[in-house]
């Protein structure tokens, strides 16, 4: 057993080193004042614009009224969450969010991978470059412009209706955006149209890193091009696919906002309204801030859990990590 006096001595010693460490820290900080000056103001900016709003979450435990300060509000405990979870519209928004994320995930992955595989098979380099350049285009335009174009295309006298009429598949023009059940399909087609070219880039890069010797070996075995694609290229990019897939599962509750909001309307609301729109409608339009924050907070908390879990799984499977 140690002597009590000795123990005291060591503890003052650590306190002393701590103090000395602190002194050293401040001396270093002074020496690096240029770096401090270049970064600390932006950290303050960061705290104001990114961390202070987190305090706003306490609104979800209040009955928030505009015009009163944050601390003068009435505290109501978990009442808002109870109201939220007994609100059918919230569950519908949650369903829509998850379904559309899932569509995004499945459709987005398969189309981007397919496009990368097809582009990789092209021998005509000029054609390849033209296809790529054109396929990136929709990625760079805003969702507002995209929504405008999609509305024109799907309009009663738009090209889609006209094609279907001419092919005799329909008798009357269809109001595509007015049929709620079709919204998910339109959403899926829209996101593929907008981002398939862009999403293929990462797979093309992964394909470029596959060892050419593997193709030569397959050729010696008499593999056709299709078989090479299936047995060499696809397994070659599997690690990238797996990592991206897992990371994207982390964003399950973040199915985006713009396409749903811009293509949504009263007639397809039952299928287009996701959590983001729910928050916007309750918060900004109906002034029910507390309920809206409760919904937003629920989403963020679930998202963070999913993202952290997805990240750690991806890291364990592979050394590649997004950040």
């Amino acid at each position: 057993m140690e002597h009590p006096l000795l123990l005291k001595q060591t503890s003052t010693a650590t306190a002393e080193t701590k103090q000395r460490g602190l002194k050293r820290f401040f001396r270093l900080l002074w020496k690096q004042r240029a770096l401090v000056l270049m970064s600390v103001p932006f950290v303050l900016w960061l705290f104001l614009f990114r961390y202070v709003p987190l305090w706003g979450w306490i609104i979800s435990f209040q009955d928030y009224q505009l015009g009163k300060g944050l601390w003068e509000q009435e505290w109501v405990g978990f009442k808002q969450f109870e109201a939220l979870f007994s609100e059918p519209r919230f569950w519908r928004a949650l369903r829509n969010t998850i379904v559309m994320s899932f569509i995004n995930l499945v459709l987005g992955f398969t189309t981007a991978i397919t496009l990368a595989l097809l582009l990789n098979e092209l021998r005509q380099m000029v054609f390849k470059r033209v296809v790529q350049t054109i396929s990136y285009l929709p990625h760079f335009i805003s969702w507002v412009v995209a929504a405008g174009i999609i509305q024109v295309t799907l309009a009663p006298d738009g090209i889609v209706n006209e094609l279907l009429l001419r092919l005799g598949l329909i008798k009357d023009e269809l109001l595509f955006l007015g049929i709620g059940e079709w919204f998910w399909g339109i959403y899926g087609a829209s996101i593929v149209w907008k981002d398939v070219g862009w999403n293929a880039i990462i797979y093309l890069a992964a394909i470029a890193m596959i060892d050419p010797a593997l193709y030569e070996a397959a050729e010696m075995d008499g593999a056709s091009r299709f078989r090479k694609m299936w047995h060499v290229t696809l397994p070659g990019i599997r690690p990238v696919i797996v990592v991206l897939l897992i990371l994207n599962i982390g964003y399950l509750l973040e199915s985006g906002f713009e396409p749903q909001f811009l293509l949504g309307n009263g007639m397809n609301m039952r299928y287009s309204e996701n959590i983001d729109i729910f928050v916007l409608k309750y918060g900004i339009q109906l002034f029910n801030f507390s309920l809206a924050v409760a919904a937003g907070m629920f989403r963020t908390v679930v998202s963070v859990i999913l993202i952290v879990a997805a990240n750690s799984i991806a890291r364990r499977l592979n050394e590649t990590r997004l950040y």
């Binding site: 270049m38 960061l46 990114r50 202070v52 987190l54 928050v279």
Partner: protein, 292 residues
């Protein structure tokens, strides 16, 4: 034999993809140059039937749209310059291994990738800060993104060590090193970040909708287009077209034609620049996507 079939199908599939991607743009372009009354009859595909510049004239004679164009340009230029400069500066500090606050600053920024207060708390903060109804609401909230920071930092870290060392030995302080050496050497990555930021600024409309929808002098092109879109949700009811035209007293020009014209106006700057700059975009995507 099978290879040739495969090859043909491949070319066909990719050609189809190009057609599907481009057709809507070209169709919108054709409608924007076609006589508005004539367009209602339908049947405009890739080429205008009755050429006119009336739609463009109408759009640009509207004072609010001219002003919105100016605000769009301003937010794109000012926002991009400030974002790139500030991001580069912070990225430089967190690339210095000796910096005592390096870990703290890095983590503070990276955490924001995972958590944010969400729509309502952000809205209330902007309100408290009296930023509603100001131009700065377009610039300040999104000034530095963690993603840009990571891209620039990894670029600086991959610069040859001895360049920065030599500048230190020459007695240059961090400010001098940053301005005279790091900034010029970072041109490629800063070009990439500028492009992403510029496109993002140009395309933004939600902040206008949320904060400045009752301040007409601060409206942007994208928001004006969004208003036109929600005003004449034409895919729902065709009757709306004519009703809206009559209501707005628009006369010769229809909401349908206005929408097509504004869609072109709002996207032309990007369509013009991106083919020349796509190399930088792709580079940026690669640096950000596959690290380590």
């Amino acid at each position: 034999m099978g290879d040739r079939v495969f090859e043909t199908c491949n070319y066909l599939a990719l050609t189809l993809l190009m057609v599907v991607t481009l057709y809507p743009f070209l169709n919108t372009l054709a409608v924007s140059f076609n006589d508005a009354q004539d367009s209602i009859r339908g049947g405009i595909y890739l080429w205008p039937r009755k050429w006119t510049l009336e739609n463009y004239k109408f759009v640009f004679e509207e004072a609010s749209i001219l002003n919105a164009t100016l605000i769009s340009v301003l937010r794109t230029v000012i926002g991009t310059v400030l974002t790139v400069f500030c991001s580069a500066m912070v990225a430089y500090t967190i690339s210095r291994p000796e910096y005592v606050l390096r870990k703290f600053v890095t983590i503070a920024f990276i955490l924001t990738l995972y958590v944010n207060g969400g729509l309502i708390p952000n809205y209330l903060l902007i309100r408290e800060l009296n930023l509603i109804g100001t131009f700065w609401v377009y610039i300040l909230p999104g000034l530095i993104g963690a993603f840009n920071l990571i891209i620039i930092r990894s670029f600086i870290e991959n610069l040859p060590d001895n360049i920065l060392e030599a500048s230190k030995i020459d007695g240059a302080g961090d400010f001098r090193t940053f301005f005279d050496i790091v900034l010029p050497l970072c041109t490629p990555v800063l070009a990439t970040v500028s492009l992403f930021t510029g496109v993002w600024q140009w395309n933004s409309w939600f902040d206008v909708f949320l904060y400045n929808s009752s301040y007409e002098h601060l409206s942007t092109l994208q928001y004006e287009l969004q208003k036109v879109l929600s005003f004449s949700n034409a895919s729902i009811q065709r009757v709306d077209f004519n009703a809206a035209a009559a209501q707005g007293g628009i006369g010769q020009v229809t909401p349908y034609a206005i929408r097509a014209t504004m869609t072109i106006v709002a996207s032309v700057p990007i369509i013009m620049v991106y083919p020349f700059l796509q190399r930088y975009f792709v580079q940026g995507m690669m640096i950000g996507g596959v690290k380590e």
